[in-house]
C-alpha cells in the first residue's frame, strides 16, 4: 500500500539508541515521503519519542545512536554543527506535547512564532501563519496564558510551519486537549499537510487519534517496530498481539463488545445533588445542578474542560463550599465542617487523574494506603487492613509492594495504590476524576475492569468524571453531560450516547475520533 518512495523526506535505517546498556530503540527502519502521514503508536517507554528526538539530534549526550538517519538524503549524524542548525526547523520541525511548557510565558506569541523565521532569515509573515492555523490575527499580541489549550497548540503548529519545513514531527500534539478541541486541532493539521505537501510523523499512544490523521501506521513495542502498514488494515486486522491489545483498549461507542458494565435494576439513591450552585468570585462554575447517584451505581459525568465537572465533584466531596443548593448523602445533608464532615469523608473517596502526583513521593506504599486509617484512628491491625486493601486493588502479593516508594512503581500500579488507599476506609462512593486518562492503553482496561469488579463485589458506587465518552460507554450505567456549569442531558448510557437529544451531546459525539 505504501506509495512509490522516490525521494523520501525522512529515512531511518536500522536506527538503534542505547542509554548506557539499556537499548531503548531497537533496529528501527522507516521511510516517509512528502505528503505522506505516518502515525507512530506505542505505550510510554516504547521508544517512540526517542525516535522523534533523534531525527533532529535532540537526544541527550548520554544517548548512543547507531544506524543512519537520513533527512532529505543527508545523514543527520555526520552533519556539522552549523549545517544541523540550518536544518533544524528549516527542513524539519517539531510540535511538542505540552504547549504551555514549550512556550515562553513572558513573550507575546507573535514574537515567538517569528523567532525561527528571524533566526533562519526566512521571509514570511506571522499573520499568514496565524491564518493557516485559523487563529484570529489579534492573538499575535497575546501572551500564552491568555490563550486556551487548543489555541496554544495552534500557536505551536504555526511555529512549526514558520520556516516552511518538509517534515513536521508531532509528539502527542493533542494529549492534553479535550475531544472537541482535539478534533479541531487534528483537522487543522490534516489540512495543512494536504495543502503544503508536508511529511508528517505523528506520535501518540492513542490509536484513534492516529487513525483520524494518518494514512500509515507503525506500532512500536519495547523499542522495536512490531507492525507497519496502512492504518485501516493495521487496526482492522492487527497481526502483532501488542497491536491487538492497543486497538482493543479503545472502546468503540455503540459496540456491545466494549460495553463492560452489566445492566442493573434501578437502585435506591445514595447521593443526591439538589440545585447546586458554586461561584468562583464572579464566575459561576456550577449553575443549578441536579444529580442522583444510586447505591452501587456508576455514573459518568462528561464534558469539556472548563465545564465545571471537577468543581462539582470537589463540592460533592465537601472540599469546596457550595454557594447555594444541597448535597444529600444517604438521606442526610452533607455536613460542612467539623467531626461530621470528617466522618462523611470516610464514606466518599477520591481517585485523582495523575497517580504519580496523587502520592507523596516520600511516603512508602504502606504509609500512603494507611494514611486514611491513621487520619480516622481506625482500630485494628494496620498492616493486615492495608494488605487486604492492596490485594483488593489487585497488587498481589501485597508484601512485594508495601515497602516501595511511588517512583518505583509503574503508572498502573500507582493508580492501584491510590485506589487501595480509598478502599481501606470501606467507602460507599468513589469519586474518580479522569481515573485512566494518564494511563497506558493496556493498563487502562485493567483499571476499568477493577472499578467494575469493586462495584460487583463491594457494591461500591462511583462518579466517574471524564472527557472520554468511550470510557463512559465502557463502564457507566448512566451518563450526565455537563456544559457551562449546567447538566444539559442525563440518562442511561444507551439513551444518551446512542440517541442524544441535546445539541451539545451530539457535538461531543461527533468530535470523538473514529477508528
Amino acid at each position: 500500500m505504501t506509495p512509490e518512495v522516490t525521494n523520501p523526506v525522512l529515512e531511518l535505517k536500522k536506527l538503534t539508541v542505547h542509554y548506557g546498556h539499556k537499548r531503548v530503540v531497537d533496529d528501527v527502519s522507516l521511510t516517509l515521503a512528502p505528503g505522506q502521514t505516518l502515525g507512530l503508536a506505542g505505550e510510554s517507554g516504547s521508544g517512540k519519542s526517542t525516535v522523534a528526538m533523534s531525527v533532529l539530534r535532540l537526544l541527550p549526550r548520554t544517548a548512543r545512536v547507531d544506524g543512519e538517519i537520513l533527512l532529505d538524503g543527508h545523514d543527520v549524524q555526520t552533519m556539522s554543527w552549523g549545517t544541523l542548525r540550518a536544518v533544524r526547523w528549516a527542513s524539519a520541525s517539531i510540535v511538542f506535547q505540552g504547549a504551555m511548557h514549550s512556550l515562553n510565558p513572558v513573550r507575546r506569541v507573535g514574537d515567538q512564532i517569528a523567532e525561527p523565521m528571524r533566526l533562519h532569515g526566512t521571509p514570511g509573515r506571522v499573520t499568514e501563519l496565524l491564518e493557516q492555523v485559523e487563529l484570529p490575527l489579534e492573538k499575535a499580541r497575546a501572551y500564552p496564558h491568555e490563550l486556551s489549550g487548543g489555541q496554544r497548540q495552534r500557536v505551536m503548529i504555526a511555529m512549526a510551519l514558520a520556516c516552511g519545513p518538509r517534515l513536521v514531527i508531532a509528539d502527542e500534539p493533542t494529549t492534553a486537549l479535550d475531544v472537541v478541541v482535539q478534533a479541531q486541532v487534528l483537522t487543522v493539521m490534516k489540512r495543512l499537510v494536504a495543502e503544503q505537501d508536508l511529511g508528517l510523523l505523528m506520535i501518540s499512544h492513542d490509536l484513534s487519534v492516529l487513525a483520524e490523521t494518518c494514512d500509515d501506521l507503525a506500532v512500536m513495542h519495547r523499542g522495536a517496530l512490531v507492525e507497519r502498514g496502512c492504518t485501516r488494515e493495521v487496526i482492522a486486522n492487527p497481526r502483532h498481539p501488542h497491536t491487538a491489545a492497543l486497538t482493543a483498549a479503545f472502546p468503540v461507542i455503540g459496540d456491545p463488545a466494549h460495553r463492560w458494565a452489566e445492566p442493573a435494576a434501578a437502585p435506591e439513591p445514595l447521593l443526591e445533588v439538589r440545585d447546586l450552585v458554586v461561584d468562583y468570585g464572579r464566575t459561576r462554575a456550577v449553575d443549578g445542578v441536579d444529580l442522583t447517584i444510586g447505591q452501587g451505581e456508576i455514573v459518568a459525568l462528561v464534558g469539556q474542560s472548563g465545564s465545571g465537572k471537577t468543581t462539582l465533584a470537589r463540592t460533592i466531596m465537601g472540599l469546596r463550599k457550595p454557594s447555594s443548593g444541597r448535597v444529600i448523602f444517604d438521606g442526610a445533608a452533607v455536613p460542612l465542617k467539623g467531626r461530621a464532615l470528617k466522618a462523611f469523608r470516610r464514606q466518599v473517596q477520591l481517585v485523582l487523574q495523575d497517580p504519580a502526583s496523587a502520592l507523596n513521593p516520600r511516603h512508602k506504599v504502606l504509609d500512603a494506603v494507611a494514611e486514611g486509617l491513621r487520619v480516622h484512628r481506625i482500630p485494628g491491625d494496620e498492616e493486615s487492613l492495608v494488605t487486604a486493601a492492596v490485594e483488593r486493588a489487585e497488587l498481589r502479593p501485597a508484601n512485594l509492594y508495601l515497602d516501595s516508594l511511588p517512583h518505583e512503581l509503574s503508572g498502573g500500579q500507582q493508580q492501584r495504590v491510590v485506589i487501595a488507599g480509598a478502599l481501606v476506609l470501606q467507602p460507599r462512593l468513589l469519586v474518580a476524576d479522569e481515573p485512566v486518562a494518564s494511563l497506558d492503553a493496556s493498563v487502562r482496561g485493567e483499571i476499568v475492569a477493577l472499578l467494575l469488579r469493586l462495584r460487583r463485589e463491594l457494591g461500591l458506587a462511583s462518579l466517574i468524571i471524564t472527557h472520554d465518552l468511550g470510557l463512559a460507554w465502557q463502564i457507566a450505567d448512566r451518563v450526565a453531560v455537563m456544559h457551562q456549569g449546567k447538566i444539559v442531558e442525563q440518562g442511561s448510557v444507551e439513551q444518551v450516547l446512542l440517541n442524544p437529544s441535546h445539541d451539545y451531546t451530539r457535538a461531543l459525539l461527533r468530535a470523538v475520533p473514529q477508528v
Partner: protein
C-alpha cells in the same frame, strides 16, 4: 552517588573546620586558667609582638591574644547557633502558618514579615540591645528577632508549592485536618530546606554578633571575637601597629563563617532535587 562526591569537596572541608572550632570552643575553657584572662592578674607586658611565649602577642592589658581567640570561639559559636535556631524557628512557624491557612491570618502575618524585612536588621538589633538589659540573651534575642523574615518567606513559598500538589488534596479527601496535612506532608518537605537555611543563618548570626560586639553592644563580661575587635579599636591597636590584635579574631570570624556557608551550600545541593 554524584551528590555525595559533590558534597565531599568543599562541604567536607567546611565540616572539618567546624568540628575543630567546636572542639576548641568546648575544651578551651577547661584548659585555660581564669588568671590568664583576668586583666588584674596577668603579668606579661602589654602590646608584645608575637613570639615564643605569646604566639600571637599580647593585648593592651598583657593578655595573650591566642588565648583570647580560643576563648572567644565559644561565645561566637553559641550566639550564632542559638540566634540562628531562634530566627529559623520563628521563620518556619510564620511561613507554614501563613502558607497553610491563607486568608486574614496570612495577610496579617505577611504584613508583619514585610515590616521586619524592610527595616534594616542591624539598626533594629542595635535598638533592641540598647533597650534590653545587657547580656548574652539580649544579643541572641536581638539577632533572632530581626533575621527571621527571609526564612518565613522561603518556607511560605515551599508550603504553597506543596499544598498545591494533588496528594495534599487526596489527604484532605481522606479526612485529614490541618494538623495531618502540616505534619505528614508540609513539614517533611520543608525540613530539609529549613536545615540548609539554619546553617546559612548561623553564619550570618555570627557576623551579626561580631558587629554588635564591635559596636560595643555585646556582653562586656564575655570574650568574643567581635568584642576583641572592639577592644582593639578602642585602645588604639591601629596607631600601635598591633596587627596581631586585629587579624586573629577577624580571620577566625571569616574562617568559621566561610565554613558554615560551605556546609550550607553543600547541604543545599544535596537537598535540592536535580531534574
Amino acid at each position: 552517588m554524584n551528590r555525595l562526591t559533590g558534597f565531599s569537596r568543599a562541604g567536607m572541608a567546611g565540616a572539618a573546620i567546624l568540628v575543630v572550632a567546636a572542639l576548641v570552643a568546648l575544651i578551651a575553657p577547661l584548659l585555660i586558667s581564669a588568671d590568664a584572662l583576668d586583666v588584674t592578674r596577668v603579668t606579661a607586658a602589654p602590646w608584645q609582638t608575637p613570639g615564643a611565649q605569646h604566639w600571637l602577642g599580647t593585648d593592651h592589658t598583657g593578655r595573650s591574644v591566642a588565648l583570647l581567640v580560643v576563648q572567644g570561639a565559644g561565645t561566637s559559636l553559641f550566639v550564632g547557633l542559638t540566634a540562628a535556631v531562634l530566627s529559623v524557628g520563628i521563620g518556619t512557624l510564620v511561613g507554614i502558618v501563613s502558607g497553610h491557612f491563607g486568608g486574614l491570618v496570612a495577610g496579617a502575618l505577611l504584613r508583619v514579615t514585610d515590616f521586619f524585612l524592610v527595616l534594616p536588621a542591624l539598626v533594629l538589633a542595635i535598638a533592641l540591645s540598647t533597650v534590653l538589659p545587657r547580656g548574652l540573651g539580649t544579643i541572641v534575642l536581638a539577632i533572632g528577632l530581626t533575621s527571621w523574615p527571609s526564612t518565613a518567606r522561603m518556607v511560605r513559598a515551599q508550603t504553597l508549592t506543596i499544598e498545591a500538589r494533588p496528594f495534599v488534596e487526596r489527604a484532605r479527601a481522606l479526612g485529614g485536618g490541618h494538623g495531618h496535612v502540616i505534619g505528614r506532608h508540609v513539614l517533611p518537605s520543608v525540613v530539609p530546606l529549613v536545615l540548609v537555611n539554619t546553617t546559612l543563618a548561623v553564619a550570618s548570626s555570627i557576623v551579626a554578633e561580631s558587629t554588635l560586639a564591635f559596636l560595643g553592644l555585646g556582653d562586656p563580661t564575655r570574650i568574643s571575637w567581635g568584642a576583641m575587635l572592639h577592644q582593639a579599636q578602642l585602645h588604639g591597636a591601629v596607631p600601635q601597629r598591633a596587627w596581631w590584635f586585629l587579624l586573629p579574631p577577624g580571620l577566625a570570624i571569616v574562617v568559621v563563617v566561610l565554613a558554615f556557608t560551605l556546609v550550607g551550600r553543600a547541604l543545599e545541593a544535596v537537598v535540592t532535587p536535580k531534574r
